[in-house]
């Protein structure tokens, strides 16, 4: 182990790690809205809209994230869609995780017993009110866990953005391995940074989970 080198490259890797955090957090943020939109579309009575949402989710989940990224980045310009690499990473990440997240959200809402919403409706709650104050609080605990897992998957997948030349953690690590020929040192440091990021996210998920379940008895 060459510790001098490790000290030397740490600032570079930390800067790159910020890019990873930046891209991932923005993709998760926007992805949440995509997911909510997809869940909403699936409640429409007009069937073609439901089919569109189902089809979108199926296609996104059935094709590699990597190919989606390349398609939008290199194929986008021929549709007049020119995105800089970071925006492209955020947009593709958001639309990708949105599809997975909508399934997680729908699943957690459906896991709430139907009797709950029926009881609320018969007590005079409106449709929206039933959803917001009866169903969602009960779905929250499951939703937080499953969305959290997806967020962690997205952070790991954000390494693929290095292919379209975004200088994030994996790209920086690869470049440093190439220039220093010390793969073990660089790998150790960059793996450590991913682990720190992932454990921080896991901590946030756990806090949110505890907060969502603070009134439930188990």
């Amino acid at each position: 182990m060459d510790f001098d080198l490790m000290v030397e490259v740490t600032p570079l890797l930390i800067r790159a790690a910020w890019v990873t955090i930046d891209i991932s957090s923005r993709a998760i943020f926007f992805g949440f809205f995509v997911a909510c939109g997809l869940v909403f579309l699936q409640t429409f009575r007009f069937a073609p809209i439901r089919w569109f949402a189902r089809g979108y989710i199926s296609v996104i989940r059935g094709t590699p994230y990597f190919v989606q990224l390349l398609l939008v980045f290199y194929g986008g310009p021929s549709l007049g869609l020119r995105l800089d690499p970071i925006t492209c990473g955020v947009v593709v990440g958001a639309f990708n995780i949105g599809a997975y997240m909508s399934e997680a959200i729908r699943g957690s809402i459906e896991s709430v017993d139907k009797g709950q919403s029926e009881a609320a409706r018969s007590l005079g709650f409106g449709k929206v009110q039933t959803m917001v104050s009866i169903v969602l609080p009960q779905a929250a605990s499951l939703m937080i866990r499953s969305v959290g897992v997806l967020a962690i998957v997205l952070i790991k997948n954000s390494s693929l953005v290095s292919i379209i030349s975004v200088v994030e953690l994996t790209y920086q690590a690869q470049r440093l391995i190439g220039s220093t020929y010390k793969p073990l040192e660089i790998f150790t440091l960059s793996a450590l940074m991913y682990i720190i990021i992932i454990y921080a996210v896991m901590g946030i998920i756990e806090l949110a989970y505890r907060r969502a379940t603070r009134y439930t008895t188990q």
Binding site: L79, T170, Y181, P183, F187
Partner: protein, 217 residues
Amino acid sequence: MVFDFAPVITYFPTLLKGVGVGSLVAIAVALMSIIGGLVVAVISIYTKKVVSWPLRFFIWLFMTTPLLLQLYFLYFGLGEWILIPAIVVGILGLGFHYMAYNADIFIATIKSVSDGQYEASRSLGFGHWNTILYIIVPQAFIRSIPQLGNNMILMVKDTSVLSAIGVAELVYASQYAISVSFRPFEFFMVIALMYYVINILMELGQAWLERRTAYRR
């Protein structure tokens, strides 16, 4: 915005060759990760901490870091000592990655097999390792099939990442054709479609396998 799929048709044999290489890699990785994952799981459950903790550490390490980083590490790390073809690095990298994920599943399912099975088998005269091999592992394996199927579907999608280290699978095979024809959109559309078809076939296969083995669970 005019689409021209003619170059895709011209280079279709190249793409099919990419599918062939990708399938070969996927099959090798599936075998390696399932068999290896099972061995790792059995060893990490049934041996002393000196052996099992390093294994658990590697499972944890492979699950908390991105695949691409692991591939770069293997590719450049191994490249320092010996020159091995990219496809071997790709199979090893993807294999180890999914070996960790599969081992994680096997550990859970092996532990889910009731202790009574072990005790009954021992009292019938099976030895310790024979019980594990003939009684515990088969039951655990059947229970793992749904999750293993999910992992293998994810794995096939991840073969596309191997193009980053120069494995001549579908995405890599299209690079030359794209650079000659300047039609990235059409090529990537067709590639995505191919992956989608493979994915649907795998999902059907998984559903069939789950139905076939459901009575044993």
